[in-house]
Amino acid sequence: VDPSEERKLVKRLKQGDSRAFDLVVKEFQNKIFSLIYRMMGNAQEAEDLAQDVFVTLYTSIDGFREESKLGTWLYRIAVNHCRNRMKYLGRRKESQKRSLDQATERRLSGEKSAGNPRLQAHLHRPDEMAQGRQLEKILQRELAALDGDQRTLIVLRDVQGLTYQEIVEVVDLPLGTVKSRLHRARMTLKEKISEYL
């Protein structure tokens, strides 16, 4: 969105204009939903949190100081919602999640050892594999297993394609910290999925 257009849009939002709110929802719903889905790995959770993000936008727009783009601010709200949710789920479902991960691991290793021809074919062709549902599942699972901060950075940079400056504004960390944590996150992910590449 053009900066002057965005300023007008924000002004309308601050006046409580519901049409401006509709425009923002329409413009950002897929980006925010996708970000949260990649962070949480669950469509139901993503829908719930994404709805909350837009409600927060409407109720907290007066606090938006326009130092960053509206989209970046929305990403920031979304990341904070995800972090809070992850903390809550981490406390509540830690043991449940662990057993689920083990079950998935067993299923995947079973498929691999059984020599699933489709997966085996993909294993030797990374380009095709990158487009396959199987790799997507594996990636989604391994992303979910990353530490919350690492997951946030990988999703923002590699999945959503944000610039480093935008990421700095979203996560409120210095550029150097963002880069080094992101690199560690990629290394961790590489270790986890290298056997499928």
Binding site: D22, N30, F54, I154, D158, R186, I193
Partner: protein
């Protein structure tokens, strides 16, 4: 550049953020080190695989659901900030009721008996500045006797 140092540079190298000097240092190490070359390939494949994850679209009725949720939230917020929304504690209500009951009791039983019972007599004839001609007002009994003595008169 050793193996560990080379691996630290992978992200910047693949994103084109490495200066020329470092780029040539890394590349000369890669030429000699097959292990690091293999590792860089895996690192690059990982990044490409993650970047290949497609955007997931929100459900079709997403905007409608957002509106419903927003309306619910605003209604709830208005309710919460309304002065009538505050709950009065049960103990406070009990105390208020007790005070009202005591006040009624005093008004209905004690005051009439003080007024008409005659038990109350001024201890001395004190001069009251507010009373007519500086004299005390007659008590309830005296007033009633005076009214009864007057033929055809009634006390309202």
């Amino acid at each position: 550049v050793d193996h560990a140092k080379a691996r630290e540079l992978f992200s910047d190298y693949l994103e084109g953020e490495l200066d020329d000097g470092r780029t040539s240092e890394l590349e000369s190490h890669l030429e000699e080190c097959e292990e690091c070359r293999r590792d860089l390939k895996l690192f690059s494949d990982t990044m490409r695989a993650v970047s290949g994850l497609e955007e997931v679209e929100a459900p079709e009725d997403f905007a409608t659901k957002v509106h419903h949720r927003l309306r619910r939230r605003l209604r709830h917020r208005r309710k919460a900030t309304s002065p009538w929304s505050h709950k009065i504690p049960f103990e406070t209500i009990c105390l208020i009721m007790l005070v009202i009951l005591v006040a009624f009791y005093i008004m209905l039983y004690l005051l009439p008996s003080i007024e008409s019972g005659g038990d109350f007599q001024p201890a001395e004839e004190v001069e009251h500045p507010g009373s007519r001609e500086g004299r005390p007002r007659p008590s309830g009994r005296r007033l009633r006797q005076a009214v009864d003595a007057a033929p055809g008169a009634t006390l309202r």
